[in-house]
């Protein structure tokens, strides 16, 4: 039973802050509505990007200032808006209310809850558009962001504050890599994750949210949704909303991870808006500032120095290619902005290599700076062996007679490729990744059949976890394995091999 006295007290407190001067207003009138864009007359004093309010309770943002008219994109459905309706200025730029309680929530780009729970209270208004941190405020990326995927953590390591693009055709596991990365943050529990769904099916988004709940990843994640049924304006704003949420936590000294899934649809939404706004169309009908659309977003991923509390935002933008074409307009734009890419190939996917990462064409420009000494010590050999295998695999297809060394390299390469496969939603701790990679690069799997490699790995992990958990703790520290540690690893691997049957 709500106490009436409490209600009165609340009202009085609320009224204390009333005093907004709304005596003078600059009004506008709706002249034309086309595809979510309103052309209005009046509003002579409004500024670019300002939020305006319509008579039917809807809101919009000003995107074009012409001589006699103003173009406004609607932030929501058209509703009962008609020609002649009044428009009021609000004097505010687009922002989203963020508080610590936003974690675990599913919201739209304007901050409205979509998970049938109350609005975010006690929030700070974070601007959607913001200039990225300057050079002086930054420091080099030096802390790993562990995805839990061997192929990525060992060969294409991602650091906190980096932008790493995930690129590939549809259905190759781009979102799967992103979700596995979010799930893996459960281990360290010091990374806030923001998943921005742009232009996706609502059923897909619902599945992702369910999976995050199941894996207990939702408590440290925020999901920003602008599905395919939402207006292009919301799809355009969604990534900026996600970044604004991440900036809130970064300013408190925390590390945040933002996943933009995907920026291709974001570009399509912006193209739609620009064409309706009658802006000049360039290549592939994209507007002239399509590069700036993504560059200003991704530049906000940053690693701040200690003076600015040392927080970071890591960005994992996703781009969907058509027929493997990474030389198309939007992919090349985003590749040139990011600090590396994870390239997924359909041939690898359909041959059973999942995650289907083409390690030859993938790169991380941060590299070893984003790896612990432990994994760096094993990944160098791994990279080399894989490169050699890729070169020699072509010859093996011709069925020509090969010498023993070449055969050995090929066999090693097959086992290395096999060990890099990983099931979805099963990210691995770094210690187990080190064990797997170390064992294959040191020849312990050379006498194991290729088809038994994955079973070997699984049982090997269980064996070590039960027999020598301290070894895993030592590896987990991130220090390069010392001589005694390596001896322990050799001993326990030999012990396991004696009991492993294939």
């Amino acid at each position: 039973m709500i106490d009436s006295q409490k209600i009165i007290e609340q009202l009085e407190n609320r009224l204390m802050s009333f005093g907004v001067d709304k005596k003078t207003q600059n009004m506008g009138v709706v002249e034309k509505i086309t595809d979510g864009v309103v052309i209005a007359s009046g509003l002579s004093k409004c500024f670019m990007g300002e939020i305006v309010a319509f008579g039917n309770g809807n809101y919009g943002t000003v995107l074009n200032l012409d001589e006699d008219t103003v173009s406004i994109i609607l932030l929501g459905k058209e509703g009962k808006l008609k020609e002649g309706d009044g428009i009021k200025r609000t004097g505010k730029l687009l922002s989203i209310d963020v508080a610590d309680t936003i974690l675990g929530r599913v919201i739209d780009p304007l901050g409205s809850p979509l998970d049938a729970r109350p609005k975010i209270k006690g929030a700070r208004a974070m601007p959607l558009e913001r200039i990225a941190a300057g050079v002086v405020e930054r420091e080099p990326v030096n802390t790993p962001l562990k995805t839990g995927l061997k192929a990525i953590d060992a060969i294409i390591p991602i650091g906190r504050g980096q932008r790493e693009l995930i690129i590939g055709d549809r259905g190759l596991g781009k979102t799967a890599i992103a979700i596995d990365t979010i799930i893996n943050q459960r281990v360290s529990n010091d990374v806030i994750c923001v998943y921005v769904a742009i232009g996706q099916k609502q059923s897909t988004i619902a599945q992702i949210i369910d999976r995050l709940k199941e894996e207990q990843a939702l408590p440290y994640t925020v999901v920003v949704v602008a599905s395919s049924s939402d207006p292009a304006s919301l799809q355009y704003l969604a990534p900026y909303a996600g970044c604004a949420i991440a900036e809130y936590f970064m300013e408190k000294g925390k590390d945040a991870l933002v996943i933009y899934d995907d920026l291709t649809k974001h570009a399509w939404a912006y193209r739609q808006l620009s064409l309706v706004l009658r802006r000049p169309a360039g290549r592939e009908a994209y507007p002239g500032d399509i590069f700036y659309l993504h560059s200003r977003l991704l530049e906000r991923a940053v690693k701040l120095n200690k003076k600015h509390k040392g927080g970071s935002i890591t960005a994992l933008p996703i781009i969907e290619t058509q027929a493997n074409d990474i030389s198309a307009y939007i992919p090349t734009n985003v590749i040139s902005i990011t600090d590396g890419q994870i390239y997924l190939e359909p041939d690898l996917f359909y041959s059973g290599i999942r995650p289907a990462v083409n390690v030859g064409r993938s790169v991380s420009r941060v590299g070893g700076a984003a790896q612990t000494s432990a994994i760096k010590s094993v990944s160098g050999k791994l990279r080399l062996e894989l490169a050699q295998y890729r070169e020699l695999a072509v010859f093996a297809q011709f069925g020509s007679e090969l010498d023993a060394t070449t055969m050995a390299l090929l066999e090693r390469g097959k086992r290395t490729t096999e060990i890099l496969k990983q099931l979805q939603y099963q990210p691995l701790k770094e210690s187990l990744q080190i064990l797997s990679i170390w064992s294959v690069t040191n020849g312990f799997l050379d006498d194991i059949p290729v088809e038994s490699t994955q079973r070997f790995e699984k049982e090997y992990h269980e064996f070590v976890s039960s027999r020598n958990p301290k070894l895993l703790e030592t590896l987990e520290t991130g220090e390069k394995p010392s001589e005694p540690t390596v001896t322990q690893m050799e001993k326990i691997t030999r012990e396991f091999k004696k009991i492993f049957s294939f």
Partner: protein, 118 residues
């Protein structure tokens, strides 16, 4: 005919600051349908820039009217009566609205309080 030319045409349709019906009719006969729409829009914009609409809960006294005429010299003032304003005045100068009335204050108060609750 460009938009700017139509705008100039609209500005030239005035004689001694009042819209000249003969000029408007002669211009209208020469324009296409689309140009005519644009011309009408420019005339409407021009009229709204030259006119002030003042809304009051009752008709103002002559002294008040004189004071308002001096305040908005050079513009045509049209008075409207709207008893729902309760007290005060509302002045509409093209796209600028000066809401100095009790109704507006109460509306703003209601919006402010209700926006704080789900």
């Amino acid at each position: 005919m460009t938009k700017k030319q139509l705008k100039n045409l609209a500005l030239q349709s005035y004689t001694k600051d009042l819209l000249d019906q003969k000029k408007v009719e002669s211009v209208a006969r020469l324009l296409t349908r689309f140009q005519l729409k644009q011309y009408i829009r420019e005339l409407r914009n021009s009229e709204s820039q030259k006119t002030i609409n003042i809304v009051l809960p009752h008709l103002p006294a002559k002294t008040d009217q004189q004071m308002l005429s001096r305040l908005f010299a050079g513009k045509r003032i049209i008075y409207h009566v709207d008893k729902t304003l309760l007290l005060g005045i509302k002045i509409i100068d093209n796209d600028q609205v000066y809401d100095l009335n009790l109704k507006d204050t109460l509306d703003n108060l209601f919006t402010f309080v209700s926006s704080g609750y789900d």
